[in-house]
């Protein structure tokens, strides 16, 4: 299934302020099971794009079309606070399946099997506040993958983690994705992260968000963290940074 964005426009208006243009004429298309990273300065509408895909926001104009004419199922993974504090790890991971109406015995079996894969075994009856940030995001990943959606939408999911934990979660995400291929939209501020994970990196401009560049990442898969030493990786990284630096400086001097 190919997803095509045609001239997506989104403007936010707060009654007291002037209108803020979040997305302007955003057009691109994404192939089945493609891993797409989206980078750009703060407030460039990256998150808005995800929320439109997740049906939590509606665009002002423009269309999103799907090659098989069916609206796909998409799961959003939040930066943090995406887990319900009053549910245990077992219940949080099983939430998606529960809402789909799967009976509890079958659900728990599936959840426990998946927990082993994301190294959460033994934490079934813990509550989110008893877990580290890294473990909470593993719970969020497990919950999303278990419902087997067509699209995974990730909104800076590792931004709140420390640098070491972030690298480990990136590798784990790659390993899960390799076994359960899906179309992924991954919003991040971290250029290394964007390149490491993706097949394509879409670079957006400062507000109003437009697409500045669409870069294919032709690094071999499966990838590990050492790919960052690769000269092609470095070349892409500095190309993106040179552009983003200008955009961020523009924003800072306003």
């Amino acid at each position: 299934m190919t997803i095509t964005f045609n001239n997506i426009v989104k403007t936010f208006s707060k009654s007291t302020e002037k209108e803020v243009s979040a997305l302007q004429d955003v057009s691109f298309s994404v192939n089945d099971n493609e891993f797409v990273s989206i980078v750009g300065p703060s407030g460039c509408g990256k998150t808005t794009l995800l929320k439109i895909l997740a049906n939590l926001e509606t665009q002002d104009s423009g269309t999103i079309t799907y090659s098989n004419d069916q609206v796909p199922e998409s799961r959003l993974i939040f930066q943090d606070q995406g887990l319900l504090p009053w549910l245990t790890v077992l219940e949080n991971i099983g939430l998606g399946l529960e809402l789909k109406g799967m009976e509890s015995k079958k659900r728990d079996e599936k959840v426990i099997a998946f927990m082993d894969r994301v190294k959460l075994s033994g934490f079934e009856s813990h509550y989110p506040h008893e877990l580290s940030g890294g473990m909470r995001q593993r719970v969020a990943l497990a919950r999303a993958f278990l419902t087997d959606p067509d699209i995974l939408l990730m909104d800076e999911p590792f931004a709140a983690l420390d640098a070491q934990t972030r690298i480990i979660l990136q590798e784990e995400l790659l390993s899960i994705w390799n076994k359960n291929k899906k179309t992924v939209f991954f919003v991040t501020h971290d250029i290394d992260e964007a390149i490491l994970l993706a097949d394509r990196v879409i670079v957006m401009t400062d507000r109003p968000g437009k697409i500045h560049a669409d870069i294919n990442i032709k690094l071999d898969r499966p990838r590990e963290i050492t790919v960052m030493d690769n000269s092609e990786f470095k070349r892409i990284k500095w190309e993106i940074w040179n552009f983003l630096e200008k955009e961020v400086r523009k924003e800072l001097s306003l």
Binding site: R75, L76, F78, Q81, K100
Partner: protein, 262 residues
């Protein structure tokens, strides 16, 4: 699995509280026996407890305790229940909130006891007037806390349910109800306290049954031994209901930070 460390701390806290109460009465006994404290206000505590024991075994203490408790529970159930319902609805729908809020804000600050004359004239001097008054007292703390509880829920949780295809009923069961529960329980505690206060007050005014009436009789007879013995019963209801709700909170909201400390 029993957590021995926790149990130990719990026992120590309980022991501390009991020791403080015993010490308080011992000192009082000492000061009254040595005439440092004297007069109408300070009967011997040992005599107060004697009076209490006699009242419980031979007197009408238990009967009146039952009467007052029934009123408190009825008013709390009716008023607290309605407060819970309206609080949920107001938290749920901005339309209902905008419509009802001005009325609530206007009535809430009135001391509820001041409404007694109106209620008596409207409903007469009977059981129904008492229950209505207690219900009004129970209603507001429950309403305000439930509303606050629903409104403080992080909007992200609603988005999670929406993203996972949850129905309105799912949102209520998985987000609204559990998310507001710690606040609802606080509301219940305040609501119960308000019910007890109003119940005692009304019984003092109406003067035919209940612990409030007994307090009133003791006061007019200047029998402070009797008054103190009733006060002990009233305190036990208050402390008991608080402890019960604290236990409920620990059990119902194990995920909440407060649950482990209180």
């Amino acid at each position: 699995m029993i957590n021995f460390q926790k149990t130990k701390t719990f026992m120590r806290e309980r022991f501390g509280a009991a020791a403080a109460i015993i010490l308080f009465f011992l000192l009082w006994e000492l000061f009254t026996r040595t005439n440092i404290l004297k007069g109408l206000l300070f009967p011997y505590p040992s005599v107060v407890f004697e009076e209490l024991a006699k009242g419980l075994t031979e007197g009408d203490y238990l009967e009146n305790l039952f009467i007052t408790s029934t009123r408190v529970v009825s008013g709390f159930t009716i008023g607290g229940g309605l407060g819970l319902l309206l609080g949920m609805l107001m938290g749920w729908s901005k339309k209902i909130r905008d419509f009802v809020d001005p009325l609530i804000s206007a009535i809430h600050p009135i001391p509820k006891f001041a409404l007694l004359p109106i209620i008596i004239i409207a409903f007469g001097i009977g059981e129904s007037s008492r229950i209505i008054m207690i219900s009004i007292g129970a209603f507001f703390p429950m309403l305000i806390n439930t509303l606050g509880g629903v409104l403080q829920i992080n909007p992200t949780y609603y988005q999670v349910l929406e993203n996972y295809g949850g129905s309105t009923l799912d949102v209520f069961k998985k987000v609204v109800l559990p998310g507001s529960l710690p606040y609802v329980l606080t509301g219940a505690r305040l609501s119960l306290k308000s019910s007890l206060t109003l119940s005692i007050g009304i019984e003092m005014v109406f003067g035919n049954s209940g612990l409030g009436t007994m307090l009133y009789r003791g006061w007019t007879a200047l029998d402070m031994t009797y008054v103190y013995s009733i006060l002990i019963i009233v305190s036990i209801i208050g402390i008991g209901s608080n402890a019960l709700l604290a236990r409920a909170k620990k059990k119902l909201v194990p995920w909440h930070e407060d649950a482990s400390t209180n």
